[in-house]
């Protein structure tokens, strides 16, 4: 899956899927996520959540910016996962994204790890 709006505004890739026999699903969000591309982001999350992974790891290392509408998409996906017993982990947010997660206390709802390996280790 690959989304690209305009310049390199938002890119979503899925390097690993539980449904392909991987131990977890890994999504990587890169670029800038805001109200103007949130439906693309929502579509990407909906597609993965529909596969009901036990563990959805979201690599944020390439995400330069996220606004509150992108955060809401992530929180909605987290809630949907939770309903069928799945877990979400956020990995390696850059400073701007980490700050937004702290200020909104979203980092208390969704655990944040330094690396994919840390997230897998829990």
């Amino acid at each position: 899956m690959w989304y690209n709006k305009g310049v390199d505004l938002l890119t979503v890739t899925v390097p690993a899927r539980e449904s392909d026999g991987q131990p977890h699903t890994l999504m990587a969000i890169a670029g800038e996520a805001d109200v103007t591309n949130r439906e693309d982001l929502r579509g990407a999350f909906d597609a993965e959540v529909a596969l009901e992974p036990h563990m959805l790891i979201v690599d944020l290392s390439g995400l330069r910016f996220m606004d509150s509408s992108a955060l809401h998409v992530i929180l909605q996906a987290n809630r949907a996962l939770d309903r069928h017993g799945g877990m979400m982990a956020l990995v390696a947010p850059q400073e701007a994204v980490a700050k937004m997660l702290r200020l909104t206390t979203a980092d208390r709802l969704v655990p944040v790890f330094r690396s994919v390996a840390d997230a897998v280790a829990g």
Binding site: L9, D34, V35, T36, F65, D67, S68, S69
Partner: protein, 158 residues
């Protein structure tokens, strides 16, 4: 966060509702201000503000704050105002000011001053703006909304 004390000349009967008064010094957007009209290109809005703030010497953590605040307000314009938004940015010796205008109307004078529930799926935007800026002035009436964000230069707050 506190709201700008109203300027003496604003305390007139022309605006019985303080929320609808012009922001301090309105009409005095300096000629040196850099301006941008935007509809949906929020990346351009963020890019302009980031570049201006860096050139002006705002610290990197505060640049992150200002870019977030400006983007959240511009996002509100995209979502609610049904009009283009206007950004003006300028600085003095002490501060950077970002002025954002649109034709939308914010009916709640306390919008953004209460922390939303972390699980709430809305309402974080203006609250975040109030968290990261040194000062936020919001004026809104039927004619539109003007918001001024102030960031002190040389402030260690991060």
């Amino acid at each position: 966060m506190y709201r700008e004390p109203l300027m003496p000349d604003e305390a007139s009967t022309a605006y019985p509702d303080a929320f609808q008064r012009p922001v301090s010094g309105e009409g005095a957007t300096p000629a040196s201000a850099v301006t941008l009209t935007f509809t949906t290109d929020l990346a351009a809005v963020r890019g302009l503000v980031e570049e201006y703030a860096r050139k002006t010497g705002l610290s990197e953590p505060r640049i992150v704050d200002l870019v977030l605040a400006v983007s959240e307000i511009a996002a509100n314009t995209v979502r609610h105002a049904k009009s283009a938004g206007n950004l003006a940015i300028w600085h003095s010796k002490n501060e950077i000011v970002c002025e954002m205008r649109d034709k939308g109307h914010i009916s709640d004078p306390l919008a953004g001053t209460r922390p939303p529930d972390a699980e709430a799926l809305g309402g974080h935007g203006l609250w975040l703006v109030n968290q990261v800026c040194d000062q936020v002035e919001i004026r809104s009436g039927t004619g539109g909304t003007t918001i001024r964000l102030h960031m002190l230069l040389g402030s260690p707050r991060a």
